[in-house]
Assembly symmetry: C2
Homo-oligomer: 716 residues x 2
Amino acid sequence: MARRPGDGDEADSGTVVTPSAEFPPLAPEELGTLRRIGDRWRADHPGELPIDPTLGRHGGRPTPTRFGRLAPIAMFRREQPDELVATEPANLPGTGFGRALTRLRRAVFGPPLSSAAVLYERMRKLVALPVLSSDLLSSVAYGPEAMLAVLVLAGSAALGLSLPLAAGLVLLMVAVGVSYRQTIPAYPHGAGSYIVAGDNLGAGAGLTAAAGLMLDYVLTVAVSVAAGVHAITSAVPRLAPFAVLLGVLVIAVLLAGNLRGVRTAGNIFVLPTYVFVVALLALLVVGYLRAAGRSFEPVPPPAVPAAEGLGLLLVLRAFASGAVSMTGIEAVSNAVPAFRPPEWRNARTTLGWMVAMLVLLFAALTLLIHLAGLVPRPDQTVLSQLARVTFPTGPWYGLIQAATALILLLAANTAFNDFPRLLFFMARAGHAPRRFLHMGDRLAFSDGLVALAATAALIFVAFGGYTERLIPLYAVGVFLAFTLSQAGMVIHWRRRRGAGWRRRLALNAVGATLSGLVLVTAAVAKFTEGAWVVVIAVPLLVLLFHRVHRHYRNLHAALALHPPPVAPVAAGPAEGEELPQQVRHLVVVPMARLNRASLRALAYAVSLGQPTLAVHIAPEEAEADRFREQWRAWGDHVRLETIVSPYRAVIGPLAHYLEALHDTGPELVLTVIVPEVVLRRSWHRPLHSRTEQRLRRALRPLPGVVVTSIPVHLTE
Amino acid sequence: MARRPGDGDEADSGTVVTPSAEFPPLAPEELGTLRRIGDRWRADHPGELPIDPTLGRHGGRPTPTRFGRLAPIAMFRREQPDELVATEPANLPGTGFGRALTRLRRAVFGPPLSSAAVLYERMRKLVALPVLSSDLLSSVAYGPEAMLAVLVLAGSAALGLSLPLAAGLVLLMVAVGVSYRQTIPAYPHGAGSYIVAGDNLGAGAGLTAAAGLMLDYVLTVAVSVAAGVHAITSAVPRLAPFAVLLGVLVIAVLLAGNLRGVRTAGNIFVLPTYVFVVALLALLVVGYLRAAGRSFEPVPPPAVPAAEGLGLLLVLRAFASGAVSMTGIEAVSNAVPAFRPPEWRNARTTLGWMVAMLVLLFAALTLLIHLAGLVPRPDQTVLSQLARVTFPTGPWYGLIQAATALILLLAANTAFNDFPRLLFFMARAGHAPRRFLHMGDRLAFSDGLVALAATAALIFVAFGGYTERLIPLYAVGVFLAFTLSQAGMVIHWRRRRGAGWRRRLALNAVGATLSGLVLVTAAVAKFTEGAWVVVIAVPLLVLLFHRVHRHYRNLHAALALHPPPVAPVAAGPAEGEELPQQVRHLVVVPMARLNRASLRALAYAVSLGQPTLAVHIAPEEAEADRFREQWRAWGDHVRLETIVSPYRAVIGPLAHYLEALHDTGPELVLTVIVPEVVLRRSWHRPLHSRTEQRLRRALRPLPGVVVTSIPVHLTE
């Protein structure tokens, strides 16, 4: 189930990420059960601790040295009577190799950041605008071109269709924009499609939206990087052969930067976004002045022969391709809580500005391209051609290309912020692996970042780094999320029936319908061009999310606290017990031979003060006799059972014997105590039979069998 | 150190392999120490066992069903008061997949064999002869050809040199044969080069001989299979393109047969060996009759242009190549205990016959090949050519080729007997991994067999399956072992100085000198042709054996029993204790959250009746407070220590905290009790953080820290 925003405290729902999400609080009824368990808990020996668990620290604060290893005691400082705080060196692994690796990682990604450093930073509108709009606005760098690239297949005569299609797209942009404007005040804690769809249409719809969004983020990275690299190779054709390598490198740099946990600091976004907008506006102004010089007479495009007939399908494909200009429009609604108060109002205003700018840039660019008579070429982007035509000399051309490449990289970067956050919310609801709840030592969701970068790089390479080939995959995921989110809003209004709910419902219904049309168009018209990947991937992902959720639900049910049975304090079946007075022990020590390791295990076992049984597995009768003789020489202090294993296997008979013991006394907990020789060198491993590990694996499925390893350390 | 034969009881030395070699008996002083440890052993609670460890079996013998799974209790039967015997189903793994795999393996390799089925079979001379001579006699199938193949490089005129070279080789055979005849009575428990050289020349020489022998066995397989396949492709040229594949298949079949544990049943050797000898004798008789018809005038060989000058090096290379005809001569001396009493006398007689037959076949064949004017050809072996010339019609040719191929496969099979035995002796002395002491469930040394087959197949494929290319590698290893063994005998006689020791010493000295000369000749003359591999491999192997031995020696020293300190019964440092009354406990339970799994771990911990401490690692202050609140709700029955880990790591701070605890109380044994969720499906694994495993790995290097896993089984 997706959590309903507004349930519980604010920090635990909506779009706020917390480092302690891995440790959810107990529900009230669980707390009650816990109290009842505690009431019935009896321990024989209260047990004074033989040492001071506070490590003798009472407020003293040793200054930890950054380099060089501290004594373990010095790694902790005390801040409250029953609480220690681990200093940074306490995170280093114990082995030399592990420490070296961690040091290297820290040199690259920076020292660890304390949980207290989580930023709940609020953005002004003028900062929020560039931060949240880089993804959306950068889309105009490839959106119009994607549309033209389809139209030109029907020959240069069909290029004129770009104007009516652009008009349709502008309508779509406005409709979706208005639709999202309404979502913001309704979900002031964050209105991601996953949450809105899940909340109103059910968990399945939420997961479908999530699957669409995940693909969207992956493709945002792949497409933005591809378009950014294309902007670079258009300006510097010598780099063209290295485009794929360049793109992978860019993804790696983005990953590294995000693993460093560079905060969503608005600053790095502000300048490039405004530069891009200003550069584009300059391009448009100069371009239209030049066009005015020609009395707005379109330059006839170079003659391109038609490869396909101009059918409805082609037009629909062109429309769906152009629709990728809208990707990123949902960014503001995800990020409502990041605005300064009143959050929803500021967010809504910002969204208005963004959509207005998008419409302006998109429409003006498409028209100017038409007037300049430009045709997509494989070696140069249309935007690059336009810039060259408009600024034949001077530094302007270079500036425009650089700004384009930069804003595209920033757009890719926003996916690195959003993807792990989406996984975080899904993991919190139990739909994704719980590891995505864990913040790495730089306060970044490292696992999510790596997953995104790896998938995006894979797709980027698989499609040869061509923007054009990636576009068909892109549109489906995006519009799937749009459609579900807005359909969810329709249900929302119908349920709430607040003031003016009919108008709001109608607006969202228009948005949902138009988005749904684009979704179907993209899925059908571009099915063979790559959309099939998405059409297959989304249901598979949803199935996976469901399976993951079922596993966690079962796990949670299995581990949920049950009140202890009231009547008999007597022993129940093993693994049913939850009270110490119900546990009855039998300690079993497998003895292969009599040496220091096995005698230490035996001494440990006996020192627990519980009934103890030693077991020896002998390959033949003669050896069994010899061992019993040694046992008697030692004094026969512990009951010994010998098992002759005529087929010389050790693990199998031992495991079956323990199972048989358990069958005769199902209420007993069998503690199997095995010495484990700790090897210092990995090449020594094949020299040992590793019985401990094999036995542990064989015993793992048995109920009520506990395995204790007694480490024996070799000095060499 | 190589064990001296004659030390201890016979079953534990010499060439007898026992299934219980993995469990060596305690030395007398260790038994004494054991007694002293037992005298001081005190247990607080004697501990009546809560169940019957004999599983309630008092002489009853349920008949185990072969198929279908028995209840665990039924898998054991009782034969003595304190001894159970595991039936065959008790060896089956617990998981369904493991059981299916085991069943498949048994279908291929047969049901397991009981240790009682080890054969200490004694051979009559007439059975021993074919069993032990197949390796030696089969060498004449490629030895003369190997010599001619070198001579022909100097043109067909040089082929005449084969006669004086053969005379030299006959001398060598007699000298080495006489030399080995003397070894047999001196080492009646088996006189492998490893043992003889190690015994007289020191461990280093023994290991060098072992390295030589190991290469010898690997190459015996590779060369015999190559020559056998060549015998087949000579008769059926259509198979020639599949020679390498055929060879690998043959090795796989040999491996499978030996994994089935086909005993060295003389029967399968008797017939082919005698058939081969009879066929060769027939070939010789008819051949010489035909030659007599030409008044023993040699047929002039086809003119072959000289590729190299006829220098001393070439002659030496030819001699060294011809010397591979002697490989296998050491077989009898390895197998003395397998003869009927008086063992050494029967073995010596058999060796005499074998050498006589070798000399006869080798000399007569070489002369006849010369008389027939045959030259090595790539498409046909010389023996095949000779058979074709001698028997142009009739079934004789096919019979000879079939007998040759068969005896060569049997020769390869002898290496499958000897190689694992050599590894067994080396492992018993601690020079090879101990796993080679373990007999598989078919009473075969499975690991050794697989190692041999894999190495031989690798070399066979690497050399393209050409006998000729393998020969240079072969001679060096063989003659290294010969030389060391006989040099060892020289020292033996000098030390013993029994009756006639000067004569014996002289004979062995001659053998050693001649073998040594061949060794140096082979290593130098064939260095660039492949002998360099052996020249490098032998020292590396010896180094490896030494390292393995050092590891086991250190391990043995670390695990040897020490008498307990007499004076204070007080606590010593952790891992020093060997008596239960010296063990002082602190049980630590890491608690991530309060659920059934962690409460079960806590209940288990408290039920042990030892001082217990719970530890919670919190990612931030707020979470720590929340957890403490829950703890108080539960009743605060166990002392809780909270550690805030501001960098969100869990394993590192926990491990360091335990280390710090251990530092404050080094005499304590810290038992860390961790719940372990047992997953039913492997794809669930990425959904869990597997803290238990990671913690175990982190804690493994710490002294005095014991880890106990409490399994929690999920029903789904």
